[in-house]
């Protein structure tokens, strides 16, 4: 927070924007905001790790410290969101410093509309993850340090504008998240952590390989995305790099057939970690696909589009069918969390402005909905003292608040109106019916199947007759309500006002609207697909 006060002390220039000045506008006139966002959690983690925590005596303080660090972060990001210039071309809050000149790597950070939406997602999810981690009792210091490091790596991926920097932060997140699984997972944590390291390691290796292929293919000049994305590559190389990037995305989102880690990890991880993994870390897979493949590999994207559509459809259908086979609510939540990834991929496969708008918005909305659903089911299992579907039934009466929050989260997975996923799914299906009609139709059927599976699950676990032999339900905690409330609240807020709340057509409070912010960048992104350059 001291950095904020310091920033606020600087004299500011009037905004060139035509929109009326809002609270927080023009606070950032210096170009180190993104570095502050990336490195302050790392600094906080180092400081926290220096303090002893004998017999967990100071656990509450460590928890509070991590919360306030991320709350301060959220506030800074919100100010950046308010200050974001919708119609200004190019990057904002840009920083560019040579890092490894010998190989052309540059410490290049910047935000466009897509990055802004992802930054908000990462910050929101980070805060919710800390709240959801209130149940962690052992080694709280270490837990919070790892969460802060993982958070920093995710912010780094979002704001990176150099492939080397992006790969660095991408891979740097694997170790803290894997150690969180290994240290705080349930009985099957070792197997889960091994699979996690293996799948995410494959993703990281594929990303490094893709970056180096691009580097070598472009004459070993550098990794800066400003250069890489504007260069012309042979279709063959584009296809190779694109395929590697699909593997990168598939291991994270996750997509069939790289979904193996999700079942094991989400079935054993604590709710806070599930929020972090599903809400933001996984969504970065789709983000990288949009940021690198769609933005720079136009021929490769066109060639791979039908394949991506098929992958999206398969993921949705697999998730819907696997739910019926699940034997416990945690595994079931893990399968449900796959659905938004499949829909996002369909939006990317369509490759037109509307569908890409929807794909970015679905990363935000789908991330929140999937995190709320998967972590919500884990919380249900914790409170009900059992995860088995044989035991759990009729819990709505015993945990009404949790039930309704979970219902909204599950509806968010399906893109129901008034929730943030609705405009996202609407744009995706509208766009994909134009360019990928077969896969759009198939994915629509898959979503219907998903709706049936969700209805079956909610009826069985929440709204059927209570099981008299089930263990007693533990009382809920405030933090459980808060973390789910924040996620579901964001889902509803963006769903009601995707373009920001307006009074007489004028934005009247802090939210300028997520859709216009995203739209500021997707138009440029989709332009090569709308107006293909004439052939030779």
């Amino acid at each position: 927070m001291s950095s904020l006060l310091w920033l606020a002390a600087f004299p500011t220039e009037p905004s060139p924007s035509a929109t009326p000045a809002q609270f927080g506008a023009n606070v950032f006139t210096q170009s180190f905001l993104l570095s502050v966002l990336v490195w302050s959690p790392v600094a906080a983690a180092v400081i926290l790790s220096l303090f002893p925590n004998p017999r967990g005596r100071h656990s509450a303080r460590f928890r509070a410290a991590a919360f306030w660090v991320l709350a301060g972060h959220g506030f800074l990001s919100l100010l950046a969101y308010v200050q974001f210039q919708f119609y200004a071309p190019g990057l904002q809050f840009e920083e560019k410093v040579p890092w490894l000149p010998g190989i052309g790597a540059v410490y290049h950070l910047g935000l466009d509309g897509i990055g802004m939406a992802m930054l908000l997602l990462v910050e929101l999810v980070g805060l919710a993850a800390i709240l959801a981690s209130a149940g962690v009792r052992e080694r709280v210091r270490e837990y919070m340090v790892l969460v802060l490091l993982a958070h920093a790596s995710m912010v780094g991926v979002v704001v990176a504008r150099d492939l080397f920097v992006m790969v660095l932060f991408w891979s740097a997140g694997v170790a803290p998240l894997g150690l969180l699984v290994l240290g705080w997972g349930g009985a099957a944590r070792r197997r889960a952590a091994a699979r996690f390291f293996a799948y995410w390691g494959i993703g990281s290796a594929a990303f490094i390989a893709a970056a180096l292929m691009l580097y070598a293919g472009l004459g070993a000049v550098g990794f800066d995305l400003d250069y890489v994305l504007k260069s012309s590559l042979s279709p063959r190389l584009q296809l190779g790099v694109g395929a590697a990037l699909v593997v990168v995305a598939a291991t994270r989102l996750p997509l069939v057939p790289f979904q193996g880690w999700a079942r094991d990890v989400l079935a054993t991880a604590p709710p806070g970690l599930i929020v972090l993994l599903v809400g933001s870390a996984s969504r970065l897979g789709g983000y990288v696909l949009i940021r690198v493949m769609v933005a720079g590999l136009h021929d490769g994207s066109r060639l791979l589009a039908p394949f991506l559509g098929a992958l999206g459809f398969l993921t949705i259908v697999y998730a819907a069918l696997a739910v019926f086979r699940a034997r416990d609510v945690r595994t079931l939540g893990a399968y449900l969390a796959l659905i938004p990834g499949g829909v996002t991929l369909l939006g990317i496969a369509a490759l037109n402005p509307v569908s890409l708008d929807g794909a970015v918005l679905s990363l935000f909305a789908g991330g929140i909905a999937a995190a709320a659903a998967a972590a919500g089911f884990a919380t249900v299992a914790q409170r009900a003292q059992s995860a088995s579907l044989e035991v759990l039934s009729g819990l709505a009466g015993r945990m009404p608040v949790l039930t309704w929050l979970l219902v909204v989260a599950c509806l968010g997975l399906l893109g129901v109106p008034l929730l943030a996923s609705f405009p996202a799914y609407l744009m995706i299906f509208y766009g994909s019916l134009q360019s990928q009609p077969a896969w759009a139709f198939a994915a629509g059927l898959g979503l219907l199947l998903s709706a049936a599976s969700i209805a079956w699950v909610l009826h069985r676990v929440m709204f059927s007759a209570p099981n008299p032999d089930a263990p007693a339900v533990l009382p809920g905690t405030t933090s459980q309500t808060w973390y789910l409330g924040i996620l579901v609240g964001a889902l509803i807020w963006v769903g009601i006002a995707p373009s920001g709340p307006k009074l007489g057509g004028i934005p009247f409070i802090f939210d300028p609207g997520l859709v216009p912010v995203v739209n500021a960048s997707t138009a440029d992104l989709a332009a090569p697909y709308v107006n293909p350059s004439p052939g030779p």
Binding site: P54, E138, E142, G178, L179, L182, F197
Partner: protein, 476 residues
Amino acid sequence: MTAWVLLPEALVLAGAAWTVLAGAPRGSRRRVPTPGEDLDPRLPTLVTGLLLVALLLELWLGGSVGKLFGGGFVQDRFALLAKGAVLVALILAVAGAEWEEESSWLVLPMLLLAGLGGMVAASATSLLGLWAGFQLSATAAAVAVATRDREQGLRLLLGAGLSGSLLALGFGYLYAAAGVAGLTELGKALGGRITLPLAAASVVSLAGLALGLLPVLLLPQARQAYRNASPLGAAALGGLAAAAAAVALTKLGAALLGIEQGWVPFLAGVAALAMLVGAVGAFSASSPRSLIAGLTIAQAGWLAAGLAAHDRAGLAGAAYLLAAFVVAAVAAPVLAGPAEAGLNELRNLADRQPARAAGLGLALFSMAGVPPLAGFFGEFTVGVGLAAGHLAWLLAVGLLSGIICTVACGRALRLIFLEVVDEQPRRRHPLDFGSSAAALRFAAGLAAGFLIAAYGLFANPIHGLAVQGAAALGLR
């Protein structure tokens, strides 16, 4: 350039001689102590101070470029980088060692001599200088191992002799073929042709160096010796001797760049083998030392891969990785301690000795190539060389090795940091160390962790130095 530039080497040599003569002053100060006597507790602190002075002098005086002794000694950017890295590693080893665990004070002078060998090779301008530096380092490391396990040490000496002989044989052939022994003149004299004797000479020389770089891989006895060695013995063998071999290999590789690439497949094969064998060894490790051995071999494989890229980018990457490698490969066994009872001995280390745990954890992850640590930066720059040099298959092997090594490290990291269930209250203030040796160990752990974590932060100057070093070696 003046002869003052030799001061760092002179200080290291003086330190070795001094520790031999004054090593065990608990008894009489007027006689040379016998192995087995206790080390004077003040000696490690004094040697650390001496090495710090040597490092500062290297950074200050080493910036000048030139030759001494009629061209027999060279100080260039590559020498500065390599000698700086060796001195940093020596400081961490001497300061971080638990001297009570060492079976003999003799390990200290041997450690210094192993480091000196690397420094000599870094400043060598001829085949003879390379051979001398490498042989000194390998022999000193073997003796350091022998301080705990005499039989294994003797076998290791045999290995060092074998690799030295191969190297001498290869160098002899090269000299015979080219008519000159100077590294700069060698490539020109060979004239870009590759003949059968020349190919044989190159392969034999490289085999000798590879044997030195990867002793733990190529000799089962050496693997056993590494596991049984004292922490400093292991640091000398796996870190300093391997670094000396890597330095010699880099300089020889640069000299042979002018001729055809006949030996590249050989080196690429050795690199791939090392990466895979190291990764599998780390994955199946049941003790910290086995884990470190595996990781060391895997990263040595990356070093060889950088040389196999056969161009400036790859060699600059290898030089950049060399600094990260030598620091981590020396620090890891020292910080892990003897740990003879298996991986479980690391349990709860973070609570008992937090600085040591942090240093060890970061060193392990660095050797596995986990970002954003030193090893990742080095391996990525090597990867750039491989991609540019059309060795995609070797890059793929390296990435696979990295994944396996990361999984292998996860287990150790869990034991070190995440196995603390009942956190005991500290009996004394965290900064109350009890003794100066413990304070030194704390500082060494912190310094190792900081260097490994901040390597990327200083990537620009260090990699710049590596690129200039590659240019100084006359690479394309």
